[in-house]
Amino acid sequence: MKKYLALTTALSVGLGPFAAIAQECTNDTWNHVMESGTLTVGVKADYKPWGFRNTDGDIIGMEPDMAQLVADTMGVDLELVAVVSSNRMQFLEQGQIDLMIATMTDRPDRREIVGIIGPNYYTSGTNILAPEALEFDEWEDLRGQPVCAVQGAFYNQIVEERYGVEIVAFGGTAEGRQALRDRRCVAWVYDDSSIGSTLATGEWEGFEMPLPSEDDSPWGLAVPLAEQNCIFGNFMSGMQYNWHQDGTLLELEEKWGIQPTPYLQSMNERMADHLAE
């Protein structure tokens, strides 16, 4: 016991000057990933084409591709973990994933829980998938009507309060959309970009995205809060900066058949290298 005490005293005296810095940046997650050689990334598995399962059951999509690029750059193996909106921040907080790229909108209250890293890699607005037969053309038309949704989306509360709709929220997108097909609700509220892709599959004959999109907001990927301003956070900022600059995100968008977003175009121009041709 005495020996132990002496040792800790010596250590604390010896390390004293470094303690302040060490406390700020322990880089636990980063070091763990580098040591174990595996980067665990939380992505969506029910959000075509950002993250979904192919017929073999593997998770593919735009965000898994981004995760692969991150892992390649770090020189480690990639492991994907499927998350949903209502557990993604908790998974990251509890260390079940090291990095989260899961279609998450960048919101101030979320920044208090996880380390959201800029520059944002995407933006989307809120819209609805609704049957053409109902002829909605403004949000007010939805007042007092049941609208299906998915648990964990930030706009559930917004449309509920702003337009007085009755939100019926399911755990996953599959159940929510099935409920719309079963005519349990008049519409399905979701991200406009995803609804666009859903309609493009051709499986939704007689449905449309009729309203003007609202609350266009940036998406953010996140690292554990403690590493936001440390190696991992700065590294991810750099990754995203380069993706914007060299057009990787634009390429991925095209690869996965996502409707081109003005945001990615403008970011690509803003970050253009002034010396490049």
């Binding site: 979320r110 208090e112 829980i113 009507q145 648990q151 559930n156 929220a169 399911f170 005519r183 609700c185």
Partner: protein, 251 residues
């Protein structure tokens, strides 16, 4: 805003993990309360229905008619051997498509005659009911055959024997196992979350999705509420058991 509310507003500002939002935000308070009320309604409806199913099923198990016995056996095997969550999803999404619907005022929506709350009550009651049948059967089998013979020798019919002699004795033996199952049932009502029944878990998750900072307090609330709910039920069952006690029987 009174001092109590101010305290929690300040607490939320000082520690971003402990936002007791439903203690000062009226809307969130309403959500939690409506969720609690739905959980209470679900629990009461399911407890009553499942006990009725249990008693009726146990009675049918002892019936002379072979078809009646087979139906009960089939019912028990189906409901006891499948997970309640699968049953809920199956009832709501699969069977729900075949139930009659009423077309809504907009001419497109179809409001099913049995709502998601209805399906939750049906599914959970039948689930717990299957166990209740077996619990009551165990109670009935514990009544000595000689007691039944004695009742018969007094000229009682099968129904009279069941209602006046066998069941009252069987009930006393069944209560401890019954309370276990009913307690489980109250806790299983949270699974109605999967079909968007706005019960306490659903509303709590909605609250902490809208306010990530409110997750810890809301989880704490969930624990406290379920401990109290189950506590009330367990206390009620124990007092009932004590009240029904016959000195010298079943001890």
């Amino acid at each position: 805003m009174n001092g109590f509310e101010e305290f929690f507003v300040r607490l939320a500002e000082d520690s971003p993990r402990w936002n007791f939002v439903w203690l000062y935000d009226e809307r969130q308070a309403e959500r939690i309360l409506s969720g609690l009320w739905m959980t209470v309604k679900l629990s009461i409806a399911c407890v009553i229905l499942s006990v009725i199913i249990g008693i009726a099923g146990a009675w049918m198990q002892g019936a002379k008619n072979r078809v009646a016995r087979a139906i009960v056996q089939g019912y028990i095997q189906f409901f006891r051997n499948t997970p309640p969550l699968v049953q809920l999803l199956f009832f709501y999404f699969a069977l729900g498509q075949f139930t009659p619907v009423v077309t809504g005022p907009d001419g497109w929506t179809q409001i099913p005659v049995i709502s998601n709350v209805g399906w939750a009550i049906i599914s959970l009651s039948f689930f717990a009911g299957a166990f209740n049948v077996e619990i009551f059967r165990a109670g009935i089998e514990s009544v000595p055959y000689s007691t039944r013979e004695a009742a018969e020798s007094l000229g009682m019919t099968r129904t009279q024997t069941y209602t006046n002699v066998v069941f009252p004795l069987a009930l006393r033996v069944s209560i401890p196992a019954l309370s276990n199952n009913l307690i489980n049932l109250v806790k299983t009502t949270t699974q109605a979350f999967a079909i968007a029944v706005p019960e306490l878990l659903y509303e709590s998750v909605s609250v902490w999705n809208d306010f990530p900072s409110a997750q810890n307090p809301t989880m704490l609330l969930l624990f406290v509420v379920y401990i109290s709910l189950v506590g009330v039920l367990a206390f009620g069952m124990t007092s009932w058991e004590r009240k029904l006690r016959i000195p010298g029987y079943g001890e």
